[in-house]
Symmetry: C2
Subunit: 407 residues, 2 copies
Amino acid sequence: MALIVQKYGGTSVGSAERIKNVARRVAKWKAQGHGLVVVVSAMSGETNRLIALAKEIQPDPDPRELDVIAATGEQVTIGLLSMALKEIGIDAVSYTGWQMPMITDSAHTKARIQSISDEKMRADLDAGRVVVVAGFQGIDETGSITTLGRGGSDTSAVAIAAALKADECQIYTDVDGVYTTDPRVVQEARRLKTITFEEMIEMASLGSKVLQIRSVEFAGKYKVRLRVLSSFEDEGEGTLITFEEDETMEKAVVAGIAFDRNEARINVKGVPDKPGIAYQILGPVSDANIEVDMIIQNVGDNGTTDFSFTVPRGEYQKALAILRDVQSHLGAADVNGDDKIAKVSIVGVGMRSHCGIASTMFRTLAEEGINIQLISTSEIKVSVLIDEKYLELAVRVLHKAFGLDQA
Amino acid sequence: MALIVQKYGGTSVGSAERIKNVARRVAKWKAQGHGLVVVVSAMSGETNRLIALAKEIQPDPDPRELDVIAATGEQVTIGLLSMALKEIGIDAVSYTGWQMPMITDSAHTKARIQSISDEKMRADLDAGRVVVVAGFQGIDETGSITTLGRGGSDTSAVAIAAALKADECQIYTDVDGVYTTDPRVVQEARRLKTITFEEMIEMASLGSKVLQIRSVEFAGKYKVRLRVLSSFEDEGEGTLITFEEDETMEKAVVAGIAFDRNEARINVKGVPDKPGIAYQILGPVSDANIEVDMIIQNVGDNGTTDFSFTVPRGEYQKALAILRDVQSHLGAADVNGDDKIAKVSIVGVGMRSHCGIASTMFRTLAEEGINIQLISTSEIKVSVLIDEKYLELAVRVLHKAFGLDQA
């Protein structure tokens, strides 16, 4: 008799048949006496179709109107899933973001949740109804439709679980849990039974696309019990994301290897080594709403320094153009970059209490002749930037070096 | 410097290119200094696609959830058209039904408008913005999305024009006005410069699909100046729907020939000729939400009578089954019907002051050997039911008989 929030992604609701499968799964949980709120994404391909349509009209779409359009994807799915539930005798009711309402700020296409009204959902749950909610969307104070950005349905689900104080938030996806690394790259990759929130955040932010990072942060902040499960397998307990390193946890130092092909490196060479230079370089980039990931400033000589950072690959040309615009103002000798790079990271809370993890990583890569371009570390991860062509090799040798292929 | 409400149907916004055309047309009116509210339908084919998807899940879709799904079609179009306007430098803002809001009753899939809030629209118009509104949809008192039923965008446009006391409501469609009859059937069909509301209502209700009948009734009730125009031609004044038979009007007795293939006839034979029998026959049909159009009861002999009526062809089998269920209760000798029939009507306010119109119609049909199955008349129209195979012939000969082929 638990209250469970389930989230089904685009692939899980990608066709009428799959929506019926989701309904049957929900019915099974309901039959066990649980209260259920189901958050859904747009049918797979639908959001891309809508955005492409918008770009046909306006290459750089107006954000408010883009949200009006994009939000329809999830709206269709909630109607369809509610119908599928009713068709098998389960009472259900759908809510869009504004019907709930889920109030967000006004940052269209990447809004942040401010509050959730749970009254309607509670009344429906009390009446024995399954509540079907459109993920990814909300409404701002002026009454405009907003969206949370790509993958925002995970965040919706976790936020709703937090608002309802649900017993568990289950994220159903096309994989059956979180793996030590991408099984498409390393055949020996294993599913983790548990992973800590901190590790999950690093894995998610580093390109392991199982969960959207904001949803994990949200879950950590509001202590939502989060589980990743496969929507295509009826059995399996997936991966539970835990708050603490409890005794039953797997004791590997490194929990997993994450990687990301979606970055590009920009170098600003020979800038005067003086206070404020980092801000002068990154200010215009951030003004253009380009997210910067790794940032490295080398100690310089002759009063100059070299500055490097990474941006999403899709923003590479834009970022490069911005820097070239300000190059003479910065007094930089050169601005260049490389968009054929990849980031590989080892992640694990065990790294806190173990030395030599980073050096094992560097040695392993060196033995394969893989040059490291940039290094960035945090308490529980080490990331390196390498030539994209060595990515698969690097992930495979690291997976083995840290014993992740052994149960 | 007028306030104009324009409505563009699904064909007019059927592709990115067509939406851009609509934006250019709106911009032209705007450049003349007019205030503009633009009501749009879903892109052609979209509503059918959504309904088909819903029926894949639930053959008899839940009406509340069907509205949730169907309303997304118009929501996409308002976003796209607003973008198209912004792209050519026209400030614009979109509103869904619930954002306006347009309050309706809770009769999902065929809701009726109860009130419209015009504050937001007026503020936008005052600020020089073009207001883009999703037709066909509203919100009920419980906050659920409702739709007005097929063709409801016309009604939305007229209701908004009434609420804003607009100078004119222009319905842009794929034809350039109202014709004396369907030009696909009669090559000599002519566009009418004006038609009275009463005639338009008869023409619309009789299957001339230019305007949805409820929108015409609404326009008549609230004295909205209504014009039908082509969205594909830049010139042309379309057809103005007038309130009175003014001096400049064309003086034809018959304004046009309407026809409808979408009906089926049901006969209930040999029922006791006693008070209440019509109700006993039509009650169960109306309880099943089947609309009945023509109703004929013959004077009977031997204390029995024959009763005939027409229903939409899609409901024929259902209506027949209902009547057969109650046949013995009614004491009817037989229940049968025919779904290969068509209705042809002559319409004109001039018929009020002219005799012999009906007999001209009957004679013309008789001369072609076309048998009349049912006749029904009103002050400004005469409708007959005939074998469907004679439909085109009947329309052509009547068009000629009443001189409609002559300017």
